[in-house]
Amino acid sequence: MDEPTLPEIPAGRMAATRKRARDIAPPPEHSSTSSDPAVFSSDDDPALDNYQGHTRRKRRYVGAWFDQHPASSDSAFEDDSSPRFLQPRRVRGPHAQQPGQKREFKRHLDSGVWMGTDGSLTDSDDVFELEPATAKLPLPPPQLPPLIPLPPARPRLTPGELEVQSMIRQCVENGTERVDLSGLDLETISDGLLDPISDIEPIPNVAKDVEFEKRDPRLQVFLFNNRLRSFPASLFNAEHLTVLSLRANQLTTIPPAIGKLKNLEALNVAQNYLNYLPGELLHLLHKGKLRSFNFQPNRFWKPDTASFPPTMPGAPEKYELLTFGNPSAADRQPGWMGLTTKLRFRSPVQFSDGARNTYSAFKLPPVSRHPQEPAREGDDNVEVELEPFTQVAMPKEVTRELSSARLPTSLMAAPRGARSLFELALRACATSAQADRIAGWLREDAAEFPWPAHLAPAVERAVETHREGGLWCSVCGRETLLPLAQWLEFRHVRLQYVMEGVESDVAELGQEPVPFLRVGCSWKCVPAKVEAEGEEKEEGKEEE
């Protein structure tokens, strides 16, 4: 490549200096115009000399040490358009710089670093006297209004709850399956406090010649002698709970979600204020593993047998057959021993709607109050009306609906069709993450916005039911949030064993039959109606 040649340097100027003549031609064009890094070692490397010239050329570089590139022109030509390379000039004689004299610093805009001006000797005597930058006032911190109200701080745990927490933690660490929380004077147990119980894993037996075996934990939780007012709902997640004692507390109800504890073998709910037991317990008694069940004394409602006509013989058995189907023989092998129930009486059905208006003549008695509240008269001795198994009293609204839909009233019609939009929306409310707040909004905004009056209590109840673990229809088994039909079944709980196909009772637990609350998710989910013998014959005739 031909290098552009520069005009001749005036001879006089060159002659005046004692310095050797230098080739002051600028470096090749391409080296300064391209910003790309060198590809070949011979291309551009500023460290390499161009030996083409006859004379030696002094290498000139501009820029900071980290960004050095060959000077594109010489300062000798006073070319202002190109960056200038400042040649250090040594001054000798009287004008020499005095040691200790400070150098002046000025900023070079092109290089970005501070460099000394002409006349500086060395860098060793640098004394920088830079003006300190005036401290900028810090910007005031942004004052934004909180967009979302912060959730209320977690309620402080009471000393008793802290003790519970540490005890459970210890059990989880040691693999202890027996969690003894008795006699701690607990009144409430916060949500989630008992959740770690389901993390308890037994420590397997590791010994020589013993096969390693991972077994399911057999959790035992003892909460007796406390003052619990509500069943700790977080226990329902402990799938492997086998023993649960809630003796001597202040419970008024047991949530239906107790049916989730399929491995429960012993349950003690004695010495509480229960009015009835959930119907879901029947599944644990009939098909579950429950062997020991203590429930007396409590404030159970009693059947009003005085004004009740004698039942048709065999009717309870037929009712059981219609409700539960045939007991599977496989479960009742010889040698089987467990708890069963024997049905005695049934109450009429209470029909209600989403707003909990009752349409039937029969109403369940009010649930007994907590012992701290003033007791109502006759709370200890509530008698419940009874109904023969051969009839199901329905309010006239229901029978009219049934007749217009041409549905049979005698059978528990299998629930067909979709749920109501109200129930679907209610479920969406109760399962949403902000369920608690929704109920609060409904209450607070009632003045500004005329919500239908029954909405707030319906949502609150649904949220409560959901928190307690849910509710299942005892007829069709669907999960529901609205108990639209409710009735009580009075049953004797019996210990029973099977020997060579012969069933025999060992003992009836308690003298009085105990009420079990059964729940229907629609007005079609009602107790089975046992046909009286006369009616059966008439129906047979009709069919002929």
Partner: protein
């Protein structure tokens, strides 16, 4: 016959002007609509119901429900319809308005 095909569909109009053409049989699950279509009213002659209280978004979900109900009216073990949580309060109100609550008057 011509009248039948005319009466087979209803037009439901929301307050922001959205129109939904619905199978009449499905919409009649709502006693409110059933009442509107009873003979002397304008709605019965035009087959067009306007709901000045209900927005298009909510009415769409309600119309969804009508057809969900209609498809499943004779089936067992019906899966629940999905309802987004942010709409649940409005739909509770709409269920109240359209009388889609359990209790008497609820068509089975």
């Amino acid at each position: 016959m011509a009248e039948d095909t005319e009466n087979k569909y209803l037009t439901l109009v929301s307050n922001d002007g959205f129109e939904f053409v619905v199978l009449a049989e499905a919409a009649l699950v709502s006693p409110t609509i059933k009442g509107m279509l009873r003979s002397p009213f304008v709605e019965a002659q035009t087959n067009r119901c306007t709901f000045p209280e209900i927005s298009g978004v909510v009415l769409e979900k309600v119309v969804d429900y009508f057809h969900y109900w209609y498809r499943n009216r004779d089936k067992e073990n019906v899966p629940d319809m999905e309802i987004p949580a942010e709409m649940c309060l409005e739909l509770l109100m709409a269920a109240n308005y359209f009388n889609l609550e359990p209790g008497p008057g609820q068509a089975w």
